[in-house]
Subunit: 258 residues, 2 copies
Amino acid sequence: MRILLNLEYDGTDYCGWQRQKNGYAVQQAVEEALEKLPGHFSGLTGAGRTDAGVHALGQCAHVDYAGPIPPEKLFLALNGTLPGDVRATASRRVLDGFHARYDALGKTYQYRAWNGTVPSAVFRSTAGFVQGKLDVQCMDRAGQKLVGTHDFSAFQSTGRPVRSAVRTVTELRVLREDGFVVVRISADGFLYNMVRIIAGTLFEIGKGRLKPEVLEDALVRGDRDLLGPTAAPEGLILLHVCYSEAKMGQNILTGREG
Amino acid sequence: MRILLNLEYDGTDYCGWQRQKNGYAVQQAVEEALEKLPGHFSGLTGAGRTDAGVHALGQCAHVDYAGPIPPEKLFLALNGTLPGDVRATASRRVLDGFHARYDALGKTYQYRAWNGTVPSAVFRSTAGFVQGKLDVQCMDRAGQKLVGTHDFSAFQSTGRPVRSAVRTVTELRVLREDGFVVVRISADGFLYNMVRIIAGTLFEIGKGRLKPEVLEDALVRGDRDLLGPTAAPEGLILLHVCYSEAKMGQNILTGREG
């Protein structure tokens, strides 16, 4: 049977979600933890790749399982074999055709930066850092230009070619939370480094070093060079992946199928 | 001249602020970093001890300095020699008689706990953990009984005898922040483990395992056993130490002394 896992991780010590030639991937940590449980697991597939140093509160992954552990208890068993920087927060049976990546309707990411005089000690691995005064209202207003369906070609790093760079951003908010500046973005999908390029550009706009209009210009001209730097990975966190209940199989989920 | 340092630290890898026979103290890390700077430093004294694993965003400490670095630049120089989990966030000259510990008018601590099904991966060293449903409104209401001047004898761990356990709590708030439950307390001073005992007791009250009345009973009877467990250190953070400008020497602070 196919299982949907909800996963949380501190990406500091990992080369990202995806298995790489060099470095230890979160995917590998989860696979090794699954292998220590009774039964047989295969085909662990994440909803999205996260880069080295990037965190997740709500990563999702599917895996096929034949074994004695009830699907809704699997996450508890898995926490017994996972390292402390990776946690399974929920598990449920889904339809056999369900796919964590292809069936994702949308994702929400958060970029959080410590906005102080000096980089933070306490939050050095779970937040980025932006020095100096930021006009957060101006950042939020500027960001609204990205909401909607656009060709985001300018908002990606090279290295992962895609067929189409058209994505729909459904929400973008910039706000202050205690000593942090937070950029929260929901979209039907994201290009490689898209959130970190948006965040890095909004920080430049907030400092007054770039004009708010660069966002619209970059959408029209598809030119990465118009935008700010890619913000550091430690500030990025995958908050949520959204699926339709129909795709997952609602009866199966709630354990009411029989 | 006497300097007031503002310090931030991730207490995870330290035995606390204060030098101990076993373990490496934050105080020691700061002293060693000061020694690498030009000039002579002596008598580094913190506003308050923090326990092993406890963090600080706003620890204060005074130190005497004879050397070439201007007081208001000292924190920047210090960050060049401090380890990454300790940061100096400000520095200023204060009156020679100023004392970081004795002159503190009050402190604000925050206890933050991840309130989920399983312990957090991302926040495992910077937050505590409380499982299950919590009635946060009930916790906040119950906590108001502690506001004011009381004998907090029941709210301390043994090991650090004090002349008087009378303290004035000026504010206590319990609130939700995203996936966290946060207890924020300001007082003119705190007994050993006082915040962690208050937090641990409020969590039991929030779960319905202890009645709100235990707080008042414990104040009256001075009985530690009436209260909940001491909450884990990683959730505790020293937010702020408050001083009177007169004690510090306002003119000196702002560099306008002539």
